[in-house]
């Protein structure tokens, strides 16, 4: 059984008040997320990530298609007991404290008072909220609210967790904590489905990703598979490289660009057309020493840019106006 499965999930909105035109927020998304996976749901802003998550939470209803979580249709209250959800830029009740908010949400799961106290205390410890837990939420910063949002999402030890932009509003330390939290959830056997437009998040965490642009799924699979064949060159860092050797290699077309890093210390960009070991031996023969050699992959950013450039401009239904 898959943790999450969608079949041709589609959502149209009507935009414009006087002459409503359909706007395709999500176009026939078919996706499977296996249990125990950390699944990255990637795409630029406005790609339809949040729409998908809202459809999975049944905050909005699909125009067509279907979605299941843990083998049950979304919206099944029994399923809600087994999942957690962090909305994008979460916001809660101004006049409740962090403790009260979590206690309230825990009560919706039917936990007894003692159990609620225990869970709330340990969760707030886990997301790093200390004495502030007795403050009303209107006094919380964005990053603090994000932490509260994460806490409420994992309140019920969920089997599947949905995080919409979990890193947003957090400082680098907070981001690292969230990454560690996601890995802990995975180690406990949970499934984590998170959306992000920040690439490094996905690269360090995900086993598989789906990439969304303009409401359409443009790629999915293992991140390494998706990106490996996209190696578009090499970066070679050497020291002890003489001007003459550099000039010769450049005229031969072996070096696309050289960036001086210090005296006789260069970062060299090799085009994909040359074999890096050949260039390396050629340079070491002239007295240069190797510092590092790394493949240059297309970044997700480039990928987004390319996909967006390829995608059709018009995002309506194509019927014209």
């Amino acid at each position: 059984m898959d943790a999450i499965r969608t079949e041709a999930l589609t959502k149209h909105y009507r935009v414009g008040f006087w002459r409503p035109r359909p706007y395709v927020a999500l176009d026939a998304l078919t996706l499977e997320v296996r249990q125990g996976e950390v699944f990255g749901f990637l795409g630029p802003n406005g790609a339809g990530k949040t729409t998908t998550l809202k459809l999975l939470m049944q905050l909005i209803y699909p125009t067509s298609g279907r979605a299941e979580i843990l083998g049950r249709p979304v919206g099944d209250v029994a399923v809600r007991r087994r999942i957690g959800y962090l909305p994008e830029n979460p916001y809660f009740y101004d006049y409740l404290t962090a403790e009260e908010l979590l206690d309230y949400f825990a009560s919706l799961f039917g936990y007894a008072a003692a159990e609620r106290r225990r869970r709330v205390a340990s969760l707030l410890d886990e997301v790093g909220i200390g004495a502030e837990r007795r403050l009303q939420l209107r006094k919380f910063s964005k990053g603090m609210l994000q932490r509260v949002g994460i806490a409420q999402a994992i309140l019920n030890d969920p089997e599947v967790v949905f995080f919409d932009e979990p890193m947003s509003g957090l400082d680098p330390l907070g981001r690292r904590e969230v990454r560690q939290l996601i890995l802990r959830l995975r180690d406990r056997g949970g499934t984590v489905f998170f959306s992000s437009h920040v690439l490094s998040d996905a690269e360090t965490l995900c086993s598989r990703v789906a990439i969304l642009a303009e409401g359409r799924l443009v790629a999915s699979g293992h991140l390494s598979n998706l990106l490996a064949f996209q190696v578009r060159g090499w970066e070679l860092v050497v020291t002890g490289l003489t001007e003459a050797a550099l000039e010769r290699a450049t005229t031969l077309g072996h070096i696309a660009r050289a960036t001086p890093l210090g005296a006789q210390h260069y970062a060299l960009e090799l085009p994909i057309t040359v074999a890096p070991d050949g260039v390396l031996s050629e340079l070491t023969a002239c007295g240069a020493r190797l510092v590092s050699l790394t493949p240059v992959r297309e970044t997700l950013e480039d990928y987004f840019v390319r996909q967006v450039a390829d995608a059709p401009r018009e995002r309506g239904l194509g019927t014209g106006t």
Partner: protein
């Protein structure tokens, strides 16, 4: 049911924190200040005026709480997106609506109960200040428990107003909801005129239409027995029962409507 209770309690807690109960201070100040001033202004008979004022103030304060919290109850959750995390919990949308309603109803009940208590304290004090001769000619004692019947109908009216405000708040902005709710409240008081519309118009269609509207609009005038209890006129128990049944059925209708609208809504 448990879920509804928890939602209701959180609404209550939040509205208490949101300084709704400050209105009670305003109420008590108004009543005590007025009872002093009115004693100076009028030639005696201040107890009747304090009773009128107290009951009217309970109704008005309650009305404002019902409308201004009622219109924001659902709208605020949607607007601020707090509903996103809430609805991902094991809670059905109708439980959310019923919980919100119950929470505001609880807030109103506590408010009205405290205002009524303050009201009776002021009246009991006035009773100690009155001469025996004066007490003898009052149509009803100062702290007359019979006035609780008027308070009970005020509560029913407020519960109905709350249901109206909640219903509008499931699909429209607070400003529009407030306008619509107050509009219905005013129209509900002119109701009796609609029934006898054929007296003023020639057209039969217009008269039928008016009569139809008369039956559909909430008849708020039915909940007003303030003058009757203050003047110690009889109010038959069947009247109270009928008014209560009317309010409850109307509330059930509005809440059903609110649930139907809300269950189909997309939270963009």
């Amino acid at each position: 049911m448990q879920v509804v209770r928890h939602v209701a309690l959180s609404v209550f807690k939040e509205s208490v924190r949101d300084r709704v109960l400050y209105s009670l201070v305003a109420f008590a100040t108004l009543l005590i200040g007025a009872s002093y001033l009115i004693g100076q202004l009028t030639a005696g008979q201040d107890v009747k005026i304090i009773k009128d004022l107290g009951l009217a103030a309970i109704a008005i304060f309650g009305l404002f709480i019902a409308v201004f919290i009622g219109i924001g109850l659902v709208w605020k959750e949607v607007e601020r997106r707090s509903i996103y995390s809430l609805l991902s919990k094991p809670i059905r949308r109708h439980e959310f609506i019923l919980g919100k309603y119950a929470g505001l109803a609880l807030t109103l009940l506590v408010n009205v109960a405290m205002m009524t208590a303050a009201f009776y304290v002021v009246l009991a004090y006035m009773n100690t200040q009155a001469s025996d001769a004066l007490r003898a000619v009052w149509p009803a004692p100062a702290a007359d428990p019979g006035m609780l019947r008027a308070v009970a109908l005020i509560v029913l009216e407020l519960l109905l107003v709350t249901a109206i405000a909640l219903f509008f708040s499931t699909f429209s902005s607070p400003f529009l909801s407030a306008a619509l709710t107050f509009g219905l409240w005013v129209a509900g008081h002119f109701n009796a005129d609609l029934r006898n519309f054929e007296v003023v118009v020639e057209s039969k269609t217009a008269a039928y239409l008016a009569r139809g509207i008369y039956y559909v609009l909430p008849n708020f005038a039915a909940f007003d027995i303030k003058a009757q209890v203050v003047n110690a006129l009889p109010v038959p128990p069947t009247y109270l029962l009928l008014a209560a049944a009317y309010a409850l059925v109307y509330i059930a209708l509005l809440l059903t409507g609110a649930v139907l609208v809300f269950s189909r809504r997309d939270f963009k």
